[in-house]
Symmetry: C2
Subunit: 93 residues, 2 copies
């Protein structure tokens, strides 16, 4: 009973595991695509991950449009490793 509750949620786990896959910075829209989520849900979950310092969010403008980009922090990376470890123990895989 020790799975990181922040990571033990489908969308947040999808975000973090995608960012962990060597992605430096991923855009909001890239995350929409890979996670197949809605914008509202993604926005909310990104904020939660940022609040926990699992990801860093950078906002800028590109071609006059707002652009939100995210990357994993060290904290987030470690949390994911830890989560995976616990999961493996639990499922013994």
């Amino acid at each position: 009973m020790k799975l990181d509750t922040l990571l033990h949620q489908e969308l947040r786990l999808a975000i973090v595991s995608f960012l962990a896959n060597d992605i430096e910075w991923a855009s909001f829209n890239a995350l929409i695509e890979v996670t197949e989520s809605t914008k509202g849900n993604l926005s909310v979950q990104l904020k939660k991950l940022e609040a926990a310092d699992y990801i860093k969010i950078k906002k800028r403008f590109k071609n006059n449009y707002p652009l939100t980009e995210c990357r994993l922090t060290e904290t987030g990376k470690e949390a994911l490793q830890n989560y995976i470890q616990e999961l493996r123990k639990m499922l013994n895989i």
Copy 2:
């Protein structure tokens, strides 16, 4: 975005993965111990797993006391295998 939502919850996953480990029938109290959950929570989650036909619940009396025992169904076993597969894809582990 296709993790089985019934299994993607800590207590239910703990129950099912424990039952998958070659356990034939596990008692309510055994489940309390291995999952370190409360009785109320366990009772609720067992019902949900039973409703989905992931587990079978058998009630009888032992030494005058009620005894609740559970085992995994084939449906439950398959659901777990599938869940693990999806998870591995997602986390690529």
